[in-house]
């Protein structure tokens, strides 16, 4: 993920660059973002953030997070245990039972076993936008509560301020999104 911060003094730009990097990394969306642009104007004060969404990881299937054994599945990544259980319960109901922390009992024939492996456990696309929005919320100063979104494909752009956002800023932001859209 590339980050560009402009508008503030040197210290503010560098520190906000680091805040962007760290926040998106904490939320696990750094690899799904191509470019982040942040404009700071502390005098007004107005903040503009524009995030370009890049390639998103492919969906995780049961075979990615479990190991099949006789009449049971062994979970290899515990983080996904609740999701695997939910998916299996949904599909096979009472045939699924939890043996231990990392073991799920499931009696299926060979044909069904192949279908189980292909079930989708988690699709990162599902909650990508909410997670990016959460990140944006953490990056923008807490006082800037008045928000105005600028819609554009594959890009999330938000203007934030503590004062009402004027037309002039909206136009400026739209222009910036257009330029950014061509460049990066």
């Amino acid at each position: 993920m590339e980050v560009k911060v402009e508008g503030g003094d040197d210290f503010a730009n560098t520190s906000y660059g680091k805040i962007c990097q760290d926040t998106f990394r904490d939320l696990g969306v750094r690899t799904s973002i191509d470019h982040t642009y942040l404009y700071i104007d502390p005098k007004e004060p107005v903040f503009l953030i524009s995030v370009k969404i890049g390639r998103v990881a492919s969906p995780l299937k049961v075979r990615d997070v479990t190991q099949p054994e006789i009449d049971k599945l062994k979970i290899t990544d515990e983080k996904f245990a609740p999701k695997i259980l939910a998916v299996l319960w949904d599909k096979y109901g009472a045939r699924v039972h939890q043996i231990g922390r990392l073991e799920i009992g499931l009696k299926v024939d060979e044909r069904e076993a192949e279908a189980v492996k292909e079930l989708v456990v988690y699709d990162p696309r599902e909650d990508l936008i909410p997670r990016i929005l959460d990140g944006i919320d953490r990056i923008l100063p807490e006082g800037a509560r008045v928000r105005y979104p600028i819609p554009s494909p594959r890009r999330i752009t938000i203007i934030a301020s503590e004062n009402p956002i004027g037309e002039e800023w909206k136009k400026k932001a739209e222009e910036l999104v257009r330029v950014l859209g061509d460049d990066v």
Partner: protein
């Protein structure tokens, strides 16, 4: 004037140190014995430091200076949201505790922003109950300069910490602003050390002011008087907190009358202290100057 230091060592002949402190007219502020390890915060007259040092050397322990001991400091952030807490709020709090201070943390109800930042009268009064305040700001110079004006109204010594290293504000220290990680590198520890020593200087000024108009009795002496009448209950966490010119006593309403009647020398506590309920926790005892109350002994 008393000096507060921390002893760290074993239990070997430990009682001798306690006796020596009592003999030279000192006090034990806090004591923690964990199997064979002992940590003791002690206050003693400054001129007796040599004596204590010799004893500690004999016992094979360590003596550590606590420049902020005997004070209660509140660390204030514009809010308790993800933006301002937990980093660096906890780092500052922990460092001040290592230097002997008792710390509180406080997030303002409407402290965020530039134009919209506010401080309520109640928040101001809670801050003023403590000996000093550390305001933790963010990384934008313009917002900080604006916000500093609001905190000017607070009538206790304060220190402002924030990100930009060069900002012309009174009592300002840069290098600790909005952060996304803990302060664990050497240069960050140096910044925290600079903060503690700057706070120490500010508190020393206040100490001198108190000394110029001496109190009727030392807060340490009053702490001991209260403990004689109301011994601390087992497992209770710091029921008496020492301030520069008073104490915070964490007691219930029904026990206040007992506190008022405690006698120290010729006078009762109600005669030498102003006792009022704290807006935050427990009761505040503000010790009056000797010039007002007359001699206690």
């Amino acid at each position: 004037m008393y000096k507060i230091m921390m002893f760290e060592g074993g239990v070997y002949k430990f009682n001798e140190l306690r006796e020596l402190i009592e003999d030279i007219g000192g006090f034990i502020v806090q004591e923690l014995v964990m199997q064979t390890d002992t940590i003791l915060h002690m206050a003693f007259p400054e001129e007796e430091e040599r004596e204590i040092r010799n004893k500690v050397k004999e016992l094979g322990g360590k003596l550590i200076d606590l420049p902020l001991a005997g004070t209660e400091i509140v660390v204030v952030t514009p809010s308790l949201g993800k933006h301002h807490a937990v980093n660096p709020l906890c780092d500052i709090g922990e460092y001040l505790r290592r230097k002997g201070a008792i710390t509180n943390m406080m997030g303002l109800a409407r402290g965020v922003g530039k134009r919209i930042a506010q401080i309520t009268a109640e928040e101001k009064m809670i801050m003023e109950e403590c000996d000093a305040v550390v305001f933790v700001f963010g990384n934008l110079k313009e917002c900080m300069a604006e916000k500093a004006k609001i905190f000017d109204a607070v009538n206790v010594p304060y220190l402002i910490v924030g990100g930009p290293p060069d900002l012309e504000l009174e009592h300002y220290l840069g290098g600790i602003g909005r952060r996304t990680d803990r302060m664990r590198r050497k240069e960050e520890f140096d910044t925290l050390e600079a903060m503690a020593s700057k706070l120490g200087e500010i508190l020393d000024e206040r100490r001198k002011e108190v000394e110029e108009d001496p109190l009727a009795a030392s807060p340490l002496f009053i702490k001991e008087l209260i403990e004689l009448v109301m011994p601390p209950k087992a497992g209770e966490d710091l029921p008496i907190i020492i301030h520069l010119d008073g104490l915070r006593v964490i007691i219930d309403e029904e026990e206040v009358a007992r506190i008022r009647d405690i006698e120290g020398g010729k006078k009762k506590l109600s005669e030498i202290c102003e006792i009022k309920k704290s807006l935050y926790r427990g009761y505040l005892l503000k010790i009056l100057p000797e010039a007002v109350t007359g001699s206690v002994f």
